[in-house]
Point group: C2
Chain length 242, copies 2
């Protein structure tokens, strides 16, 4: 049985009771999105995650997992939280999994206790090829980070904590986050849209521009002619050396 083999493999080479979960963010069409995975044939969604190998750093485990999932390398990753409730699997989750795995499997595997080390990642939605190596996943979707549906396990809370951390980080590490969520060059308007998507509020255009320029991290390039009937905005990129 394929599932059985999979689980046996898991128990042999991986640490027990420990998982990494990743909230994968993208910035697309003015929105901050997160990647959700559909569990098997159920209508339920969850966050990508995986186990940690016995001889593997946890950061590497998160990165490997992300590579398996998105086929992207050198992704921006930030750890933000570890959750470890002794019992969090509610009735309905157990039921969902029972149907897929059989009761015995649930008892042996799902009901084992997991400590989840949580990361968030920043990716370019367009570059992502959805690879589905995972046995239990054959579908994924991007959803608005602020309107995620009810997820399996305690994943909703994890998404909310990830958003808070991202908000906190955006000011502190603007260059890194910007470079990973935006294309290499961008207009001031696009950068403002990123801020508005992350903080879920509007900024005054004129003041936002001045604020960003005063940080001295942007390099002004040529103008961008969009073919639209209005003044062409400058393109910017983040300065190389800080």
């Amino acid at each position: 049985m394929k599932v059985k083999e999979h689980l046996k493999y898991a128990s042999e080479f991986h640490l027990p009771n420990i998982a990494v979960n990743t909230v994968i963010f993208s910035f697309h069409k003015k929105r901050l999105n997160v990647l959700l995975l559909k569990f098997a044939d159920t209508p339920h969604f969850m966050l990508p995650g995986g186990l940690v190998m016995k001889d593997e750093d946890i950061d590497d485990a998160a990165m490997r997992n992300l590579k398996d999932r998105t086929d992207l390398e050198n992704i921006y990753l930030e750890q933000f939280y570890t959750t470890g409730k002794a019992k969090y699997n509610s009735e309905d989750i157990v039921n969902v999994f029972s149907k897929q795995l059989g009761d015995k499997m649930v008892e042996n595997w799902l009901n084992q206790r997991f400590i989840r080390i949580c990361y968030y990642a920043l990716v370019d939605e367009d570059k992502l090829k959805p690879t589905t190596k995972d046995l239990f996943v054959n579908e994924h979707k991007w959803v608005d980070a602020f309107e995620h549906p009810k997820l399996l396990f305690n994943h909703n809370i994890i998404v909310e904590k990830a958003i808070l951390k991202l908000q906190d980080d955006l000011d502190k590490k603007l260059v890194e986050i910007g470079e990973n969520l935006m294309s290499e060059t961008f207009t001031m308007g696009e950068l403002q849209k990123l801020y508005e998507a992350v903080f879920q509020r509007e900024f005054t255009r004129t003041n936002f521009q001045r604020k960003m320029l005063s940080l001295n991290i942007l390099e002004r390039l040529e103008k961008k002619y969009s073919g639209k009937s209005h003044k062409a905005p400058y393109l910017y990129r983040f300065k190389d050396i800080q």
Copy 2:
């Protein structure tokens, strides 16, 4: 053999590969201190830590550990980081432990891989009775948080991350942190000393006072006569309801 029994006990009731570590802060004589434990008969110090029981939330594990260590309850605890290098035990650490435990024990126990979930705690140094239930610890000391000596494992890095988190939290959660690091009533000067200890910089007295009062979280009480030859300062305490 006592050590052997101890380790057997640990492996039966606790999760393998997982530990909690706590950086215990106190504010004493104008200084931010951390509690260090001396490992057995060696001259080496380390942070308090312990294992997680199989049916125990990680937050509870940290709290239980703290209770065992300090005999204090309802302590302010904040998780801030999880570290999980696959191999971090350097030669010198292994040597230290070999002498204490014997080579075989080291191989079986110390050399096992640990994922460390890190918390910081805030306590009142004076209320702390050092209980040493731990088999390997019979001495503790408070040291300046910014001048901690070389510690076993990767604990120095953990202390530094704890300080950064505490600094970040002090502004955000001043009431909670203040209530846990200071006595119930305090003068403005004492509060300023706390800030100066945490941020390792000086603040202008007059402006600091105004800043704190403008936050509207302090309640002014009677004056405090210290017997010293100068104007008696007001006492303050944090307002109950926010």
